[in-house]
Symmetry: C2
Subunit: 507 residues, 2 copies
């Protein structure tokens, strides 16, 4: 076959694989939102069937032959330079996936599936009874299999490299360590200053807020952000998430069961940021292709964090929305000034649980996990020593120590699912978002007026043009360079926090 026939065929296969991925997404979404309790066994059979089909297709010899015919190699992962940028992006993604899947022996993949399927209930039981020893043997097995995985995938510098590369292609352990070290020092210094000031009041967030009214308010903001309800829906689940069920079907969830009203509202906006990215990434050019959902977890997280924190937790944002919120909830908010409200939703306080952490301390929770994961993977730390190491780092970074393993080492589901290398993308998202924001401020000098008048759509349009519509064509590093003219620089995030919290806490 000639190159044109090869790329045409790759696109056909990609179209089919995207449909299977959409189906997988629907099976997952439905499980969290609608499925009756006992449906779980049948659902896992359905998921496993579709995932098996996906695996077989992606590792087929046809894909291998096509990639070879397209000139893809380690030296030239995007194939022949005569192809268009989207075509080169597609070749790069398939080259990555094909090689990764090919390098992992089927026996290892199956063993990981078996071990993690047993580890997850063990983790839940351990967390419930606050007994790490129930989970420890499972995590030992997972770390052992993860070490084996790194050997199969291969690495030059650090065994953690192929793990992080799995979730954030192109990122390395050394690069993560460099940016995390930069930001860690700054955050710890900022935290010290904040701790010397009077704490803000956020008690009004913990009153009773009607969930139907919260839902109405969230939908209004989503609409203003540019969320297209003809191409997506908002529903409820125990843990908020975003998923693409089709090229014009991007779904987000939120929850109204949290004690604080703000955690529901900012979950909605956070997932709305993910959805805007996917809706924009499914541009006419990329629709229905595997490039139509965005480039990486960190860039994805940068968009959710941008809307959640940089936009919706700003003073300016509430200039427009606070009166409407007060009107919806007069009993809860009538005595609360806008200024008090904005301080309340930005309260900074070292706490045990990552998912409830504020904007300042959040990244420290991630850096802690990154440091522990790299040490586990390269053998500097053993699983049995993990709780103690966790508590020491919590003390060093946040000045607090968990009373139980449930609010310490056992709090997250990720490790029980075998997801080692995933956490850093959360904090990288914060760094990306602040760096993008710097450029946005320069290119849209009137951005504050837009935010304070509810004209959020102008921000969405800029993001769409600069980031969303590029989908997965360019790597995360390339997108960052294209938009900001620079490689990743953590000082933007440090400066953003410094400026904002100097104002909030009167530092």
């Amino acid at each position: 076959m000639d190159k044109n026939a090869n790329i045409k065929r790759l696109k056909e296969i990609d179209h089919e694989l995207v449909l299977y991925q959409n189906i997988t997404a629907l099976l997952g979404w439905d499980q969290e939102t609608n499925m009756p309790e006992r449906g779980v066994e049948g659902r896992s059979e359905q998921l496993s069937l579709v995932q098996g089909v996906l695996h077989d297709k992606i590792t087929s010899s046809e894909i291998g032959d096509l990639l070879e015919g397209l000139g893809a190699s380690e030296q030239q992962p995007s194939g022949d330079s005569s192809f268009s940028d989207p075509e080169r992006g597609l070749i790069r993604e398939y080259f990555r996936e094909y090689n990764r899947e090919k390098k992992l022996p089927k026996k290892l993949v199956q063993e990981i599936a078996v071990v993690t399927s047993k580890a997850q209930p063990a983790w839940a039981a351990a967390r419930k009874s606050q007994d790490y020893s129930i989970f420890q043997p499972h995590l030992e097995k997972i770390v052992e299999l993860t070490r084996e995985t790194t050997k199969c995938l291969g690495y030059k510098d650090h065994p953690y490299d192929p793990l992080i590369d799995q979730y954030e292609p192109g990122m390395t352990t050394a690069e993560v360590a460099r940016v995390f070290n930069g930001v860690k020092k700054d955050i710890v210094a900022l935290l010290t200053k904040i701790s010397e000031k009077d704490q803000v009041d956020d008690s009004f967030l913990y009153k009773q807020y009607d969930s139907k009214l919260q839902d109405d308010f969230g939908r209004k903001i989503l609409t203003d952000m540019g969320f297209d309800f003809q191409r997506g829906i908002l529903s409820e689940s125990a843990h908020p998430f975003t998923t693409g069920v089709g090229k014009d079907d991007i779904r987000i969830t939120t929850r109204y069961t949290e004690p604080s009203m703000s955690s529901s509202l900012f979950s909605t906006i956070h997932e709305g940021g993910h959805a805007l990215y996917e809706m924009g990434a499914a541009s006419p050019e990329l629709k229905g292709t595997s490039l139509g959902t965005g480039i990486s977890l960190a860039v994805h997280e940068s968009q959710s964090r941008f809307w959640e924190n940089i936009v919706a937790r700003s003073d300016d944002f509430w200039i427009n929305y606070y009166a409407a919120l007060q009107e919806l909830f007069p009993a809860q908010l009538s005595g609360v000034t806008r200024d008090t409200f904005v301080r309340g939703i930005n309260k900074v306080e070292p706490s045990m649980i990552r998912v409830n952490a504020d904007e300042v301390t959040y990244s420290l929770h991630i850096i802690l996990r990154f440091e522990l994961e790299t040490a586990l993977v390269n053998g500097e730390l053993e699983v049995k020593e993990l709780p103690e190491a966790w508590n020491e780092k919590m003390h060093d970074m946040l000045g607090i120590v968990p009373g139980t393993s449930a609010e310490g080492v056992l709090q997250d589901v990720h490790w029980s699912a075998g997801l080692i290398g995933y956490f850093p993308t959360y904090a990288l998202g914060n760094l990306f978002s602040a760096q993008f924001f710097e450029t946005l401020k320069q290119e849209i000098p009137e951005y504050r007026e837009y935010i304070s008048s509810g004209n959020l759509i102008h921000l969405q349009k800029w993001l769409n043009e600069k980031i969303y519509r590029k989908g997965g064509i360019y790597t995360a590093a390339e997108v960052l360079q294209q938009v900001t003219g620079k490689p990743l620089d953590p000082s933007h995030f440090s400066r953003y926090l410094e400026e904002k919290y100097t104002r909030i806490y009167g530092l």
Copy 2:
């Protein structure tokens, strides 16, 4: 391979095909309940992918070889007699499906798909503008392709035989005509008697009823019927339906948008009847197999109609539930006696629209369609003559004539989707339900006490034992014979109507 290996392999394939069918069901359910408007294009691509996989697998040479190895033939469609009943049922179903799919040329199947995909929007447009001529050329093509289908499938007596056999295996045109003729005469006579009496009042059903309270009440009844909310859910859609998304995941929908409260409530109970059948059919022995969803459309409809009409529209039923309904809706029902309520929900009145028809006239709407379909298929009637033929039959059977084609020949979606041969199963369901009910009365003499005290679970247990748990092992005719000791006898339904409406209308 030996016979044991063959049957084992057939079961493995069946398990996989059922998972694909479950996925198809979820894609369909989600489209009607949650999918955003613009998701439709992607969804149809997803559905077409999975349906293509199903078709390829069911017509594979492996299935053909297995069936041969299992001794299945036209003379012996259930294969070798040494297999168990469930195994023979499975062989019978695959032999049917395989032969049907094999007999239809791929070109014909594809042409039907193309023609019906264009016919459906044309039908919608024709119905909207009340202009049959928009739909006529599409229906002409569909009837032509249907005639071709009957030739490919083959028949001895009537070209409609292979069409009805598709939806109600084993049923023939002659048998349907026999039972329909019997019941038609009786219903027309009963209708004449009713028309001479004073009409009952049902105006109170058309007041405003809060949908949340209606939903609560429907769920209470479903629970009493034995609907297992751990194995199923109730949600809303424009047109109520039941679908099996997994072996322990049976979903029903209802709607609260109808002008009459009773149409929502009885829709819920109707679909609940379908769901009970599927939940019972997914017995431990049949779970996850293609026998685990029931045997035929008529038996399925007999269960929905049994719960909707025979149970829930009875006097006895409301002895238990009416006080609770009045308490929920005091403004609407406080002045309405139970007797008035029961008469109101059983109001008989010839009307244009099948889906809104009462229990007495409903079957006439079906008989009319059956007579027209058989005439169209064997060439006695041409598509251009259809509106006139429709109106004549409406006049003869129901004494009314549609003012527009929208309330006449264009009212149902079925023909535009190529579903010719499907309608009879609706009325056959009524006949089956009355015949089953006769046996139930004999075997549970205290059935009225159970109904009037809300102990519906005793009825569900009997149905489960006699019908549900047999799933698709035995044919519909065999189940009827096993349960009632007789072949299909339409006089049970006529007698049931006669007795009930003599009381309601004081005939």
